[in-house]
């Protein structure tokens, strides 16, 4: 099956900067900055009070009328994924029951789904309303809960938070009955999902796959956990738009964003037969792990160096055949510095610096969603031969083989490499090539 090639034919971003590929890409080229003060809840006693929220987003716009009721049993992460799926499928010109159109109807049995997700947090107000009916002496009472109070929770409550529901709702809506997976591997999930989906197509298990990831940690627990990890920016609550500055000398932590990106991966001949628009070809992928990263007090970038090296090898590309880097760029100083070093190692043998871009400065960290979004940005960069700007970057924090531009640049781009990593040490890389080359 080595002759089966994998291309990207649909892009579905849901990002703080824009929903849908047109809005997302024009905001990216304009360098639109979306980090602002938290408005969804009172953040006044949180050390970090800034975020990259989705604005004017309603998942109800992305499902058929008879499915709108089901949006109530979707946590925010699931809602984002469902919207990404709808956007990606329509962008690919595919026709499904939930996104009907004049386009090609994929064979459900050959249509796979691989969506990465993070740890979803229960809505504390929903839980609290049920809890307060079971208190004794102001404390949670297991006996009152077990003998009836738990019935104040909706019967389908658990389904709202199961990580596989991103994929399950999407497969139901779009009739993807082929291979189906849910990767729960933190920020690396999106690239791991794209990698695995590409391997499904290459080995012949599917012809079309909906792949990527979505996540929202924009809730009190998310802010708390990332702050306990020391990853959030706590010093710039009064200047949110410029607070998050990956790889810049002034980087001081990240902002919590939310969003996701799903893409349509398709076997090349299948895509050509239906005359699909091809954004880029997926030519290499790899993952690698850092055995020392279990120590959370010593931040790392996982094993991005090995992931990149192995992904380039799989793509049969040398470091000087890559024209664009899309690092994970969390803006957490120790992570940025580690990632900068990792790219230098992976690019060993390359003479010139490598142009790079990251969206984290503009919208904050999207966690699992970030690796979905960076794959989309890589595909668009290759398709339009454009490097989007990296906002909030003026001077590098450490000597680097990557160069970031303040404004969009039109330049020949042959191939792009994206990387991601997560707390705990898992990391992944994907290499995309311009199509046609």
């Amino acid at each position: 099956m080595a002759d089966r090639r994998v291309v990207i034919t649909g892009l579905g971003p849901v990002a703080p900067s824009g929903v849908g590929i047109e809005a997302f890409w024009s905001a990216a080229l304009a360098g639109r900055r979306c980090v602002r003060r938290v408005e969804d809840f009172d953040p006044s006693n949180f050390p970090t009070q800034i975020c990259g929220p989705l604005t004017d987003f309603s998942a109800r716009d992305f499902v058929p009328k008879d499915y709108r009721k089901a949006v109530k049993v979707m946590a925010r992460d699931i809602q984002i994924a469902v919207a990404c799926a709808d956007l990606a499928i329509r962008d690919a010109g595919l026709s499904t029951p939930s996104a009907p159109g004049p386009g090609h109807v994929p064979d459900p049995r050959r249509f796979g789904c691989n969506i990465g997700s993070g740890l979803m947090c229960a809505d504390m107000n929903e839980l609290g309303s049920a809890l307060v009916s079971s208190l004794s002496d102001g404390r949670f009472d297991f006996r009152a809960w077990g003998s009836g109070a738990m019935e104040n929770l909706a019967p389908l409550w658990l389904l709202k938070y199961l990580p596989n529901m991103l994929a399950c709702h999407s497969t139901i809506l779009h009739q993807c009955r082929g291979p189906s997976n849910t990767i729960a591997c933190g920020d690396a999930s999106g690239h791991l999902a794209v990698a695995e989906a590409a391997s499904w197509i290459r080995r012949g298990a599917a012809d079309v796959v909906l792949a990527g990831a979505a996540e929202s940690k924009l809730n009190p627990m998310g802010l708390l956990r990332q702050t306990l990890l020391g990853r959030t920016c706590v010093s710039r609550n009064d200047e949110p738009a410029s607070a998050c500055c990956p790889f810049d000398a002034s980087h001081a932590g990240t902002a919590i964003g939310e969003g996701g990106g799903l893409i349509i991966l398709e076997e090349l001949k299948h895509a050509r037969a239906r005359k699909a628009r091809i954004y880029a070809e997926v030519v290499g992928w790899a993952a690698a792990s850092d055995p020392a990263a279990v120590d959370l007090r010593r931040p790392t970038c996982g094993n991005v160096a090995a992931a990149l090296r192995r992904a380039l090898a799989k793509a049969s590309l040398a470091p000087d055949q890559i024209d664009l880097a899309l690092p994970h760029g969390t803006a957490v100083p120790a992570e940025d510095d580690a990632e900068t070093a990792a790219w230098s190692v992976a690019l060993t043998g390359r003479a010139a610096p490598l142009a790079a871009c990251t969206a984290t400065g503009a919208m904050g960290s999207l966690f699992a969603g970030a690796s979905g979004i960076s794959t989309i940005a890589a595909a668009m960069a290759l398709h339009t031969q454009t490097i989007p700007p990296t906002v909030n970057f003026t001077a590098p924090a450490a000597p680097s083989s990557l160069t970031f531009q303040p404004t969009a640049a039109w330049t020949p781009l042959r191939a792009a490499a994206c990387a991601s990593f997560t707390v705990g040490g898992q990391s992944a890389a994907c290499v995309l090539k311009r199509y046609p080359a």
Binding site: N45, G128, F140, W145, P155, P163, A167, R177, A184, R310
Partner: protein, 427 residues
């Protein structure tokens, strides 16, 4: 030349036992792993029992348990199981594996919530029908702790195993609900076949025997409420079945590329010859009633293995013991195997082990490896009242001797993600 994948080591921590062989004897001896829930006060809950791992201490498995002190309960299970598998594969004695070509692929669940602090912060900041987040933040930053929070992320089991075994290769964790570890093993085998890696530590670990998960499954009416007969409460394919018995545990396997395993003289317990994955794409609350999704996974696994339906000698069922699952699964087997279905023995070890959720698939595949080795099919226990809608051969109550060449293990995840694996003796 096609790269073949063999299982060279297995380890387990489950409600019946903390070793592979003791688990097997317990299964064949008709033991059940069910008892009252002890992790929280469940005495008024509609379901007050579970298949819990008993008397488990990580110190019994590793000399340096303190290294994993911050880890969650399911991570401790995973470490114990992985150390056993590593030893069984002969790697503790002589380890020549290239660390970048060694992958980790798990179907591990999320860790448990820091329940008391999570609840008390909500309750103590409750003002006028909602959490006052400013008040909440003051309390939460004081009460909650870094490791208790971050260890809940599903990828943290990977971090501990990577640390323990020095894994620098790809590390994946998947959460396709009850099908997770079957999928993990299938995808790990695929990565070895594709030459992305040469070996993998794979399987699953999960513990959902905690307040919110039991609450969630209770609200879904998925759990057996047979509190008065908890020892026999899990009754797959029996007319009187009333839900699954939730369990916890971990099973880890070492997979290796056949030639490399042969070269180092590794034990070869079984070969993974087929893997199939599918989605029901039906409803989030119900399985496709005709079982088309589950049948598609089985058919895909058969095609992957290049086998015809009549070549399968035993099917290890998902067999949860819920009203719906067992009927749907019966229909799915009929759809995939056609006229051969009635002749193929099928059994559900969940009748004795309970439902280990993410860890279920790997644990069940382990029993398939043992069945293949001993020519013995583990029974479906507690099957005394046949259900007219479940009319296949479920190997009721007593183990059966049989000549086994190809064995299939099925897992069907809540939400409709299905996975099937086929194993064979190594030739």
């Amino acid at each position: 030349m096609k790269r073949r994948v063999v299982i060279t080591g297995m380890g387990t921590v489950n409600p019946l036992a903390h070793t592979v062989e003791e688990t097997w004897s317990a299964l064949l001896g008709g033991q059940s792993g069910f008892g009252p829930i002890t992790t929280f006060d469940a005495t008024t809950f509609p379901s007050r029992f579970a298949a819990m791992v008993k008397d488990y201490h990580l110190e019994d498995h590793v000399p340096d348990a303190a290294r994993h002190a911050t880890a969650g309960r399911h991570t401790h299970f995973a470490i114990g199981a992985a150390v056993q598998a590593w030893q069984a594969a002969g790697l503790a004695q002589r380890d020549t594996l290239d660390r970048e070509a060694l992958g980790l692929y798990l179907g591990s669940g999320e860790g448990r919530l820091d329940f008391d602090n999570f609840m008390s912060c909500i309750i103590d900041s409750w003002r006028g029908g909602a959490v006052d987040t400013a008040a909440w933040a003051k309390l939460a930053f004081h009460r909650m702790e870094l490791y208790r929070e971050v260890e809940q992320e599903a990828n943290m089991v990977l971090a501990h195993l990577a640390n323990r075994f020095g894994v620098a290769g790809p590390a994946y964790n998947v959460l396709t609900a009850c099908a997770a570890s079957t999928q993990a093993i299938g995808e790990a085998a695929s990565q070895i076949r594709a030459a992305d890696i040469d070996a993998a530590i794979t399987g699953g670990a999960h513990s959902m025997v905690h307040t919110m998960a039991i609450t969630g499954f209770t609200r879904l009416t998925a759990l057996s409420r047979r509190n008065d007969e908890m020892e026999t409460a899990s009754r797959p394919f029996d007319l009187t079945r009333d839900g699954f018995v939730i369990g916890e545990g971990a099973t880890i396997m070492i997979l290796e590329e056949y030639r490399a395993a042969k070269k180092r003289g590794a034990p070869m317990l079984a070969e993974i010859v087929g893997y199939g994955s599918s989605a029901d794409a039906y409803r989030i609350t119900d399985q496709d009633p005709e079982g088309a999704g589950a049948a598609a996974a089985m058919t895909a696994a058969l095609a992957d293995a290049g086998l015809s339906p009549k070549q399968i000698n035993y099917i290890n069922a998902h067999g949860t013991g819920t009203k719906q699952n067992d009927i749907v699964e019966t229909r799915a087997v009929k759809a995939a195997f056609g006229r051969h279905a009635p002749a193929i023995p099928i059994s559900s070890v969940k009748s004795q082990l309970g439902h280990l959720i993410g860890a279920a698939g790997a644990t069940e595949l382990m029993t398939c490896v043992l069945a293949l080795r001993d020519g013995t099919i583990p029974p479906t226990a507690h099957l005394t009242t046949p259900d007219p809608d479940c009319d296949l051969d479920y190997v009721p109550n007593t183990p059966r001797k049989a000549k086994l060449k190809y064995v299939m293990s099925n897992s069907m995840g809540f939400g409709g993600q299905n996975n099937s694996l086929i194993i064979a003796a190594v030739k």
